[in-house]
Amino acid sequence: MTWTRKDLLTITELSVDEIELILTTAESLKEVGDRDIKKVPALRGKTVVNLFFEPSTRTRTSFELAAKRLSADVINFSPSTSSVVKGETLIDTARNIESMQADIIVLRHSSPGAAEHLARFVKSSVINAGDGWHAHPTQALLDVFTIREKKKQIEGLIVVIVGDIAHSRVARSNIAVLTKLGAEVRVAAPPTMLPLYVERLGVKVYYRFEDALNGADVIMMLRLQRERLGRALLPSTREYATLFCLTAERFTLAKPEAIVMHPGPLNRGIEISPAVADSSAAVILDQVSNGVSVRMALMYLLSGAA
């Protein structure tokens, strides 16, 4: 199949074929990262603008590296050092960037729907690199890429997502992609951290972490976003750690060959114990390096459709 989309905004809009195309393209591009000269000329002369209205090192660096490996020119734009502090709107900022001939705009923003809004106003391709609690499609794609690499296929796997599902764009996008590809998705969290009617997303709900782990192939831990929450959802961080930390002991409840994922940054001792995070079951660093391949694949595909 041929890629025809101008933008990548959510997982929900993608067909299974489109997801497959992204993943197989990423598989082919992964080899570039193993070379001595980690660069191919596919996007020579194209300009990628990283427009990050929220702090991020991992995602921004990953996009930057992906663009550079494809020989695109990269501009990093952060609002604290820009005219946004002078009151410029998102659309005006983006239009200015577009008139500098940007081909791809990578947007992270705290408002859900920001990427979709932007995509309507600019001719450049827009990649959603996280919009509020809504979606983080590239994270979900790199997660399924990593699962497929380790487990060969997604269909039929039992994937447990643990943590603050209600406020996690990573969870939302992962639930979308995993259910689309035929995995059984379980979510485990205290009731305050589950959105209302979460089972409508096609997941099974568990309030006890141990119950959810039974027979699990993949355990996806979410970061406890302490900066977003305050204390509203939890009596204490320590209580959360006691009930929902992935310890070596709890890990034994999953399948022996189960893998452990985490979108980073890790809160060691809160949602994941160091023993598990540093074990051979953890594929956290694979997720990071696969992120570059998946983002390369997306930029390659989008630059043909623009």
Binding site: T2, W3, T4, T24, T25, E27, S28, L29, E31, V32, R35, D36, I37, K39, V40, P41, A42, L43, R44, G45, K46, L70, A297, Y300, L301, S303, G304, A305
Partner: protein, 186 residues
């Protein structure tokens, strides 16, 4: 898919293809004075099948291991920024260090020379080979770049708009080379 309006004119049958490959194997060994520091790299997709067959033949003649790699040139195409819809990227897999090795690049049809230009650039990014030679099953002319093959199965004069297609046993077809006319995607 074969259109009903398509016509196929045979240029080489299975036996001719096989003989050409055998001759090229000998020529490769002759020119390189044996198989020392020699490696073959096939350009996806046709070049990979042909390259594998050449490796088998050379190994039968010389009784030694010949390293073999598969190269996808998509990311090096010169029309990526012009065309709409990106071509599919397939895997490049070269499981050996190409530096200081004599590389024989293998492709099925030599036409404009643009694929070979892309392949050369791609190889240069992977290392510094001692030498790069080119083997093709068919040279159909109409070069747009100063590129020439060292080993040619058969030179076939063609019209520019004609379509030369190589069929492979590996893809469940009878080995042969044909000119396809009346095809809509020329």
């Amino acid at each position: 898919m074969m259109d009903s309006a398509q016509n196929e004119r045979l240029l080489m049958d299975a036996q001719e293809v096989s003989r050409a490959l055998s001759r090229i194997s000998h020529e490769i060994l002759e020119r390189n004075k044996g198989s020392q520091d020699l490696a073959l790299i096939g350009i996806r997709t046709g070049g990979v099948y042909l390259g594998q067959r050449l490796v088998t033949r050379i190994q039968q003649i010389e009784h030694c291991e010949i390293p073999f790699g598969e190269l996808d040139i998509t990311l090096y195409r010169d029309d990526l920024s012009i065309r709409k819809g990106q071509p599919e990227v397939r895997k490049t897999s070269i499981p050996f260090n190409i530096s200081d090795v004599k590389i024989v690049l293998v492709d099925d049809v030599l036409f404009t020379g643009r694929t070979i230009r892309a392949a050369l650039d791609s190889l240069m990014d992977l290392g510094r080979p001692a030498e790069i030679q080119l083997a093709v099953l068919v040279d159909r002319g109409h070069r747009q770049l100063p590129i020439r093959a060292n080993y040619v199965g058969k030179s076939i004069p063609t019209a520019r708009e004609e379509k030369v297609q190589v069929f492979f046993e590996e893809l469940g077809q009878v080995d042969r080379v044909s000119i396809i006319t009346g095809s809509r995607d020329v």
